[in-house]
Every structure is written in C-alpha cells, then in structure tokens.
Amino acid sequence: MSPRAPSGKSSRWSKTSKVSRTSKASKTPPSSGDNRFKSSSGNLRASSMYRPPEWLGRGGSAIWTLQTPVQPQHRSGLRRRLSIALVVAALAPLIAVSFVAAALIFSSVEQGIRFEAERGLQVARGLFLGQVQDVAAGASALGSDPELLAARASGNSLAARARLGTLSTNTPNALFELTDATGRIVARCSRGSCDEMLTGAGRAGLEPAERSPVILRALDYERTVSVENAHDRLVVRAALPLTDAALRLLGSVVVTVPIDWTVVDRLKGALGAGREVVVYVGREPNSSTFMAATGARLVGPTLPQGFQVAGPGGATSVARVEVDGHEYSVAFGQLQDVNAASVGLLGVAVDREPLAVALSRGLWTLALGAAVTLLLAILLSNLLSRRMTKPLQDLHAGALSIARGDLDTSISVDTLDEIGDLAEAFRIMTRSLKENQEGLAARVRELVTVHQVGRAVSTVVDLGQVLRSVVTEVLNVLGGKTAAIALAIGADPPEFVVRAVAGDEVGGRLGRLAAAVSALGRARRTPAVEADPQLMDAALHAGLTGPVIAAPLTLKERLVGVIVIGRLGEVPFGEADLRLLVTFADQVATAIENARLYTEVRAFSEVLEARVRARTAELERANSEIERTLRELGEAQGQLIHSEKMAGLGMLVAGIAHEVNSPAAAVQGLVDALSETVRRLGHSAHALSALGLPPASVARFFELIDGLLPEMMSAPLLTSLEARQQVRRLKTAFLGADGAGEAAAMLAEVGPIGERVAPELRALVGDKSLAPLAGYLREVAFLARTAGTIRTAIGAIRRIVGALKRYSRLDEAPLERVDVHAGIEDTLVILSHQLKYGENGVTVKRSFGSLPAVTAYVGELNQVWTNLIHNAIQAMDGRGEILIETKSENRDVIVAIEDTGPGIPADVASRIFEPFFTTKAKGEGTGLGLSICARIVEKHGGTVRVDSKPGRTRFEVRLPVEGPPPAPQPIEEAAVGAWPMLDVSPISKAKDRA
C-alpha cells in the first residue's frame, strides 16, 4: 500500500467536512446573529462611527452559539470513505501492474516467437548455403579430377563418360554433366548410370536450358554456383571450366542438385523439434517438412494474401500462417541467384501452440494473483480505517460540544499519536479560552471609552470645546454628578481657573479644590471629600460633598490643570474609575497642548506668507533675466552655425575656382595659338593650289582629311625618338619623291596617322612635290588636336559646374530618392583641389558595394560627406589615403570613410560629436562640423560611429534606406533645439586631433 495515498484521501475528506459545517452554520436562524451586533445608540455622544457590541457589557458566557447537530451517518461515512480510499490506493497500482505485466507477457511471447523463427531462418539459410558450397566444392573436385581431365584432353569421350559415371555414384541425388568447349552436352550421369538422354531416377527436368548462363560462364573460365529455377523446381547448380595445365579449354562440368524433401528434411533436422522448413519457387510452396495428421507430407502453406517478403538486402519477414489446424509463425527469407535476383523463398515455421499455452498459463496466474491481492486489500483497509477513525470520532464529538459553548466538556481521547496530541491541545485550549474570555470583557470596556475620548479631543482644535466635550464624556463614563476642568494660569503658585463644567453647577466653583489637588501632585480618590484632610477646606469652600476623584493634568511633567469629578451621593468611586480618570487626564493634557500649539501656528503662518510673496517677486525678476540670456545664446549659436556653413562654402569656392581656372587658362592659351595656326593654314592652302594637282586628286585629298579629322582630335603625339624613327622610315618610303625630307618631317608632327596616309599621299602627288600636302595635313592635324583639347577642357569645366549645381541644392531640396555614390562623387569633385594639392596629395580609394537609392535630403547628405572627407584630409595633413567604402546591410546603407591619419585619442573620440567641440586652434573651426553631421544622420534615422587607432580612423555612417522617420524638422532648429543650452561643453584643450 502506498503510504501517501491514505493521507491524500483524508485531506480531501476533511475539506468536504468543513464545507458541510459552514453550510450548516448558515442555516441557523438569522435573528441571533443580527442581535449580537445590534447598536446601542445614544450611549456615546461623540462617536457615530463605532458601536460597541452588546455582549461586551454582559461578560463572558455563551459567546458562540453554533447549533450544529451531529448526524450519525456522518460518523460511519468517514470510515467507509477511508476504507474505500485504502482499497482504491491498493488497487490502482495492482491494476496498472497487471496491465503492464500482461502486455509484457504478450509482447515478449510474440517477440520470442518472432526471434525463434528468425533465428531458425538464419541457421537454415547458413546450412543451406553450406550445402550450396558443398555442391560447388563437389563440382570443383570434378573439375580437377586428373582422370577426367586426361580423358577430355585426349578427346576420348567414352572414357570421360565412364569416369563421370563413376564419380556420380558418390552423390546419389545429383545430376552430373559434361560439355565440350562449345557448350554441347557430351555426357550426363546420375547414380552411376550415364545416358545423354537420361530421364529416369527422378533426375528428369533438372537439365539446364540450352545455352544455360551457368555453362556460358564456365566456358568463360568462371566458376559459378547458383540457385536456379529449373522447370518449376529449385536447383543448386554449379559449373566450372575444364582446362589442361596450359589453360587450354576442354569444356565444362555442371553439377545440379534439386532442392527437395531431402534438403528441407536435412535443414529441419538441424533446427530441432517444433520447427518446420518450407521452400517456395517464386511465391508458390514447393516442398516442406509439414506433415498432415495422416502422416502425408504437405506441400507447405501458401503465402498470406498480399504478404510482401522483404527484398534482397537481408531483412526477414515474419507472418502467421495456419497449416492443418495448427498456427505457425513463419520467417521468410529470399533465395537469390548469383545475380542477386530472387528465385524463391526459404521459410522456417515455429509452432505457436506451446507458446499459446504458456501465454494463457501466465495470464491465469496473473489474474489469480490479482484476485487474492484485492481480497487482502479490502480486509486490511477495513481494519485500518476502523482503528484510525475511532479517536477521530471522539475528538469530533468533543470539539462540537466546545463549539456549542460548553467549555467544561472533557475530551476523552488518549491515544499516543497525533490525534491524542490534538485532544490534549483541545483541552488546553478550552481552559485558556475560559480565562481569557473574562479578562477580555473588562479590558475592552475601558479601551472603548478611552478611544471615544481620544477621538473627541483629537478632532477638535478649539480649547474650550475640547474641554467641554471631555468633561461631558468623563461624567458619562464614570457616572458622576458634576465634573470640572481647571487650568493652571501663571506660576509659583499657579492660579486655577475652571474652564469647563458638566453636570451640577457646583463644578464651576472648584478652582481652589483644583489647586489643592495640584498641591498633592498626584491623582486622588476620596469617598467623602468633606472628610479628606487635604481637600476638605477647598471642598467646603465650593460646597462640594460626597465621593470625589481628581487627577492633575500634566504634560511633559508640567502641570497644566486639574480634572475633578464628584458624585454628590453615597456610592464611592472604585480604583478602576481612578485609573480611567488618569488615562483621561493624559489625553486632556495633550488636547490642551494641541490647542495651544494651533494658535501659535496660526500667528506664525501669517508672517511666513508675507515673506513668500516678497521672494516670489524676486524670483520672477531673476527668471526674466535668464530668459534673455538664453535668447542671446541661441542667437549666438545660430550665427556660429551660419559661419560654419559659410566656412564650408568658402572652402568650396576656393576649390572650384581653381578647378575651373585651370581648364579656362588652357583654353585661353589654345585660342591664342589658333590664330597663328589659321595663318599658317592659309599659306599651306596657297602652296597646295600652286602645286597644280588634278582636281580629282585634290578632292581625294580633302576627302582623306575629312575622314581622319575625328581621329586626329585625340591622336597621340610622338615622342622625339618615335618621331625620328618615323622620319627615317618615311624618308625611305618617299625615296626619290620631290620634297621627301621636308614632307617626312612634317608628317612626323602629324603622328602615327601621318605614316599611315603616307602611301596614299605619295600616290596622289605623282611626280609633284609632297611638301605642300604634308604641310597642309600638319596644320589641319594641329587644328584638330587643339579643338580636341579645348573640348576636354570645357568638358572638365562642365563637370565641375554640374557637380556644383547638384551639390549646392543644399537646403531647398525636398526629401527624395538619392544615389549615395553620386553624392560622394560630387563631393570628391568639389574637394578635389584639397585632395590634389596637399603636400603629396591624398589618394582616394573606393570600395563601392551595390547600394539601393536612399530616401534623404540630398544637400544635407552632401554636407555630411564634405565634412567627413574634409576632416579626413585635414587629419592627414593633406597626404595619405582615404578609403571610402559603401555597402548595403539589411535595410541600411553603410558609408565608411577611413583615413590613414594619426588617429583620435580615446578621450577626444568620445566627444567629437558634441557641438562646439574642436581640436583646431581658436578661430579655425566652429566645432560644429561633426556635430552637424551627427545631427543630419540622426535626422535621417541613421547613426555615425567613429573607430580610431593610430594610422586608421574610420567614420561609419549608417543610413536606413527608408529615409528619416516621419515629421522631420529643418536641421538647424533641430540641432540647436536639442542641445542643452546651459551645458555647452567648453572648447577643448586637446589640440592634437591632427
């Protein structure tokens, strides 16, 4: 039995019992419950919030009246439930174990049978293949039989047949055959008798087919053994070549053994009792060891419908089949031929009968065991629950009677277990309950009064009202006829003035009595004040008689007044009354002090308010001054940003002026040279016309020049060495022509084209001088070249102007799709003179990835590139290498600008994006460049990072392709607005961000 189960059960049970008890309590009539909390209104005047319960006044009996009837069926229910729980706890594992055991028995028996069948199949197959090998070995012996070989070698077929016959006697069930080297059967023997047409002795139908593959293989020198289907019977067939010592092929021998009863019986013999063997040809049973009850041999079970035997690959399959009323588990394995093709099946059957018996025996044993266990569990649980519930029932009865209010009930449980402890605890609890109940009632009464008074005095700040309510309450609670409070005024000795009176008016005259009490220095209780030696004079003076209690009101050991209560009758005050009065006295003293303090605070607060008003005016003045300062500072910052922009513009203009100037100057020079050329061209034309060439030749010459013009515009000039060589070659080519030397020199100035057209010129002039043609060609070539150069120069200027145009669309450009590469290229053009004219120049390397267009403010982005590249150039002092790397990552575009400058120290690097932070000398920079960059990039929703070490500083800008987040502000306002105005970092002393 599980030790946990009963405890779990009992806890559930106790929960339900609690529920039933509460439901019973709620069924009791509502009247008594309501009555218990009925208000006694008017008892205490000051409070409307708290009403003391009625029972407080009645002392302690019958507090809790639970009328729970004890029902007899409840008791026996507990025991029944407990015993059911115990039985269930015992049965649950029993059932589970039984199921598992049954499943295990089932599966292990089934698996056992399966395993037996598979094992049998493995053994049978091993034996079978052993027999196959024996056949092969037999054939081998045949093939190396010297007598047979000799007979074959000599061509004596009779001798060979006789020898084959002799050999066949040793293996009665085999067919022996001999072929010649072409595969023709020359002898066929079985059981010692040979006949080429042998049919008898059960060997019929074993012959191999014409051109049998086994024989063909043997004639190709291969030794083969295979399982074959020969006329719907399976046979083992081995064949091998017959050769002489020099490997001359003599024929082949073939040995065939049928797989029949003999074979399966031999396999069964090795497997032992209860196992059967069956061989299938294809899927048809062919021979088996199964016997019918009559003793007749059965052909074997047919394969179950649709049953698939695992294919070649070694897996076995097990199926259940019925043969002659017996159930068997059969493991099937493929029988394959030498090409691994399936020719049949081998099955090993295991009789299921003994296993079925074992199975049912196992299940019966299990069932019997379960029944016995069940019986035992019921008996045991009954016994146990009886023993366990008896003390519980006793305890239950006792607890109920205590709950009913009978605190004298004794619980008669004294077992030595937890229930016994519980009963003892009940006894102790009942005793202390009784004691506590009595003390509690008295104490509660006092507390409530004190609470009332306290509440009254602490909620009122007017002293007179406080005192009045106190005397009223006290009078009520203590049951006096007159009560008064006198306050001490002045000192040494103080004078006592009555400030509050309740009840009889005699109270108003108790000033002297109060003084007398204060002289005593402590609370006083007297049954008859007129007889009290210390108080008698004052009492008589006031006309007060009878029992009196009085207490000084002290606060922090200072006497502030006295409270006096008189009964004017016979009933004396008790000690409890005095105690209560003293308690009141403390409260009253506190109230008096509170009232006094309140008055003082009122006076003080008025002074304070006046002061606050004065300070507020001062603050307002200071505030307006701060505002003005802020405004001024903002204006200064705006100016700074503007000057940063102007600085950039200056830089720009300087660069562009230079870039434009160079080509312009070049054009200027060329134009000067042109007029000279035009003059020389006139002379040449004149010389040409003077030559007197036929018009067709002249036309051909100009046609030639027209064709060459475009090429001449960009044709290279020859070096002087090349020119000399060309002159030499042309002179040779022109040898004998008029003006050859002059023409060669002039054509050298034309360049390689001159040499190319030389033969044509030579042909054109015929016997006339070559010089005018060459001269004319030279001038035209010069003109063309000049035109080409001018075109290049103008192209350069246009490129710069174009870049400038795009670049300078600074602020007005709207958000658009921007090609980042184009922006960088424009910036590089703008900055090109800085790049070029540093000390040794700056090399710019581009490692551009493929980028999508980015949504951005193109002008602002250009400002970023300008700042970063300009910074890099300055950092490197105008010489070094800038690597601009771009790539696209996720939905971001990354532009990295890397320089080979000396790097940024770590303390500087952390601050370079702060506005006004600069390492340049005062006046050289505003310190806003990088911070504007950062603001622009941030505005676009991107980030700038710097990573620096000596020799490599890398600024990496990451921009989202989608562009800036919605509702962007113009950059200057955003930048200025976001900077903490009063916390502008001082311009750095770090000077060496080179």
């Binding site: 050769t243 020099a246 070694g314």
Partner: protein
C-alpha cells in the same frame, strides 16, 4: 548478444559500445606497428590511415590529393620549394597543438638520422631522401625544400608515412610510440590486443566531419573461412581478403554484399632484362605471346581482376590503352624464338620465382606459375618454378636470382610515377632493395620519367607518361598480368564504406543502419 561472437574469438574482453556504435572489420593479418615511420605493410598502414592525418589526403574512392591538415599549398617557380598553410586551432588526440613544429618534427625524425627520435629501423627514410629541408615559417606555415623539381611530391605527402605525429607522444613513448599512436586523424587509438584486435574510437577533435561510427574494431583473423563465418553471423560487419571461392556465397547470401574499389593493383611477370637469355627483347616478346594471359586472369581472378596491358591500372590518370600488345599467339612466339636463335630443349630452364601464398594482387600465385610453366613449355621454353614464402621471395628478387618472377604493386599515391619510376626506372635497379626487379634500364625511358617528375603541369606529364608506356610496350620488361580489384565483403546493413584503390578501407563515413 553473446551469440553473435564467432566461435574462435577469445571471449576475454567484450567489444566496446553497442552494436550500433561500432563497426567490426575482420582482416587476415594483424598490424606490425602503428608508428607510420616503421610500417610498410598494408594492415599497419590502414590503421595509421585512421589514426593520423597528413598534410594532404586522398579523396574518397580516388587517389587525388585533397586538403587535410594543410588548407592550401604553393610551389615555387623553380619547383623546389613547397609551402603549406596549416589549418588553425587543431590539436592532436593528446591535446598537443597541430602546428608547423609538429609537421617538421614528423618529417625530421624520419629523414635526419641524427634526430634524437630517429630509429634505425625506420623504413621510409629513403623514400623521402629528396627532401633537403623542412622548415617552419611561422606557427602555421611549413616549407619543404626538395633537391629537384618533383611532381609526385604532393601525392607522396598523402601517403601513410607522411602522417603527422604528436611530438609530445613520440618523445614520451620513444621506441614504444608504435604501441601508443597519437595523431590528428578521424579515429583515436584505444587498445591493441596483439594477434586479436585493434580498437579505435571516434576522435571528437577531428577537423572534418567526425566519423559516423563511434568505435572501429579491426580483428585479426588469418583463416578466411573464419572471416566468412564472422561476416555471416554478424560478428564482423566487413571482411577483407575474401577468398575467391567465397564469392558465390557472398553473391547468394541476401545479407552480404561485395564492396570493391576499381582495379588499382597490378600483377606482372617480371623478366630479368639484365641476364641472358631475357636480355633479348625478342625472347621477352615471345614469352608474352606464349602465355594465355586473358584466360589466366579470368580463371584465377574470377571476375575480380581485368587483364593488364601495361603497368598503369586504367583508373590511374595517364594510363594508356592503345599501346602495342602481345596477345596469345604461340606461332608468333615460336617464330620470334627462332629468330632469336632459341635452342629449345638445349637451353637451360628459366627460373620462375613465385610466392607460395596469396596476396592482394594475386590470389593463387602457385597456380599462375604452373600455368605459365605449361604455356611456355608449349613453345619450347623450359621453366623451373621456385615457390617460397613471401619474405624469401622478396629477398630472392632483390638479389636478382630470378629469370622470371611473379610480383605485384599497389597504387600507394595515385601518381603514375609510383608505378613507372618505382618499378621500371634504372634508378631503382641498384642498392640492396631494388624495386625494379626486371632490372630494366632504358636511357630514353629514364629521361622521360625524369622530365615528368620535374614538371608539375598535368598535361605535359600525361604526354610524357604516354611516351613512357609506349617505350615499355616495345621493350616488354614485363608480361603485365592483371589489375586486380580490392574486394571487401560487407553486411548489407553497412552504409558508407569506401574501399580505396590503395586497398585500404575508408571508414569515416561507414555506419551500421538497422
């Protein structure tokens, strides 16, 4: 599981792991030593192949070098300096880092006789004699200086003896390192019960894909019947050195299957070209014509070999199939003999040396010798067959006592040079262990082979080797017999076994499936 043990197996210690965790390989012979510097036998080299990594290794199924410990390599313009970059962060199985120093150590202990860890019985010292210097250039770069441009150098670095060993382990075990091998290969050494088994376990720190099967057990089973039984019963998953007579059984058994590498070995009848009468090429040609080579290969190899026409197996690059051949033609043989003045019966018998036991390249050498004897007898050449055990046979061949000899070679590095230079170049006719046992010496052939060694251009080398094979076909220093296939048998539930043309198993990918 006990039933799965073969009957002959010593039951002293169970095999490690469960059946799915191990691959059991039965081989005919135990290893000799597991120190790669000491082993030249196939069984030892096969174990070393599993335990050690080399700078380069042969790709599966082919003998082409691919990166192993080295990720890349370059060769200097003059072909004499080879620089290898090593794979970083690798460790040996004992935790020693695999670095340039370890590579230098692995070679220096073999090639420098004065090295503190050199042993006199190191067998490969001569094979690497062309290495002038091995130098570490930084922690992960090694440079080899060789005495002349030598193209097969890379392939040689993929061979067994080029294994990189843990210097710590070698220094610790000294001469005993062969019993405590530590490398960086796919398997680590666990245990060696001499004469019984070697157990290896998957190396978790191997740089490439870890081995599929946790344990690799290599059993030594000299009896081929016993190996076959072990395979049938499942006690072994793979067996080597399958007897030809067991082939039909494997074919007929549905649980078993052949695993073979393409024909990669060569067996040949070497003719002593330095001695009369076989110094006359006409007589050598006559012998080639007189032997029924094709029938012999079919009968002896039973489908596990193909007739050879030259030294190079067809799957080795550069192999040529269009050279002059000498098919069986006794009439032509007789004519050639007559032309050479062969005196027939009056000539002294030729001594044919043959090993008495089977080898990877020839299953029945005695039978082959007998067939050759009878074939030659038919054309009037008398032959005395001298059978001796493999060691004596080898010694006799080194001494040049033979006229004719049966021999064979396996492709150890996939380079044609391994066949042509080793077996036929005049460089290898001298010394105490000449590998050219035909003592064939032809200046032209020697020049061609030398040129092919000095260039690393594959096309050029193919052209040169083609020329060399043509020369051989004319000179006939051998009668090439067969290229035998390397045949293993495995159970059909074994997957991923690769039989390398070098006759070794590649077990990294092998596993047993259910």
């Amino acid at each position: 599981m006990l039933g799965a043990f073969p009957l002959g197996c010593k039951m002293a210690q169970p095999l490690p792991g469960g059946p799915a965790d191990r691959l059991v390989v039965a081989r005919s012979t135990d290893a000799v030593s597991l120190d790669p510097a000491r082993t030249s036998d196939l069984e030892s080299l096969e174990v070393a192949e599993q335990v050690y990594s080399r700078l380069v290794r042969f790709s599966p199924g082919r003998l082409e070098p691919e990166p192993d410990l080295a990720t890349s390599w370059t060769v200097s313009a003059d072909g004499t300096v080879w620089t290898f970059e090593l794979r970083p962060h690798l460790v040996f199985q004992d935790g020693t880092p695999v670095d340039a120093e370890a590579v230098v150590f692995s070679f220096e202990r073999q090639i420098i006789p004065e090295h503190p860890n050199h042993e006199p019985d190191f067998v490969w010292t001569r094979a690497y004699h062309n290495i002038r210097r091995v130098r570490a250039d930084g922690p992960l770069r090694v440079q080899f200086e060789i005495d002349r441009p030598y193209a097969p150098f890379l392939a040689n670095l993929a061979m067994g003896p080029a294994a990189i060993v843990s210097p710590t382990a070698v220094k610790k075990w000294g001469h005993e390192f062969g019993r405590h091998p530590i490398g960086a290969g796919p398997y680590r050494f666990v245990e060696w019960i001499p004469g019984d088994r070697i157990t290896l376990e998957r190396n978790p720190t191997y740089w490439d894909q870890p081995a599929r099967t946790r344990y690799l057990v290599l059993l030594a089973m000299p009896d081929s019947k016993q190996r076959m039984q072990a395979l049938e019963s499942g006690a072994a998953d793979v067996i080597q050195q399958l007897a030809p007579d067991d082939l039909p059984l494997v074919r007929l058994h549905p649980d078993l299957r052949l695993a073979m590498a393409p024909a990669a070995l060569v067996s040949y009848l070497a003719m002593n070209t330095q001695r009369r009468p076989l110094n006359d090429p006409r007589i050598r040609r006559a012998i080639a014509h007189a032997i029924r080579t094709e029938a012999l290969v079919k009968l002896i190899y039973q489908g596990l070999g193909i007739p050879a026409i030259g030294p190079l197996p067809p799957n080795v690059w550069g192999a040529r199939s269009d050279v002059v051949t000498y098919p069986y033609d006794p009439a032509k043989a007789r004519a050639l003999l007559a032309e050479a003045g062969w005196q027939g019966d009056r000539e002294a018998p030729l001594k044919l040396f043959a090993p008495s036991s089977a080898s990877q390249y020839m299953p029945a050498p005695a039978r082959v010798a007998d067939i050759i004897k009878h074939c030659l007898a038919e054309v009037g050449i008398k032959v005395d067959v001298i059978l001796s055990d493999p060691a004596d046979h080898q010694r006799a061949l080194w001494a040049g006592e033979h006229d004719l000899a049966l021999h064979g070679w396996f492709n150890d590095n996939g380079d044609p040079d391994s066949f042509l230079y080793t077996l036929l170049d005049s460089d290898n006719t001298t010394g105490t262990r000449p590998s050219n046992i035909a003592f064939y010496s032809n200046g032209w052939f020697h020049d061609v082979i030398g040129m092919a060694q000095r260039t690393t251009d594959r096309t050029e080398r193919e052209r040169l080797y083609s020329q060399a094979q043509a020369i051989l076909a004319i000179d006939v220093p051998w009668v090439p017999l067969a290229h035998s296939k390397v045949v293993f048998a495995e159970r059909t539930n074994v997957r991923g076994l690769v039989v390398q043309p070098s006759a070794m198993g590649l077990y990294r990918f092998a596993e047993r499936v259910q």
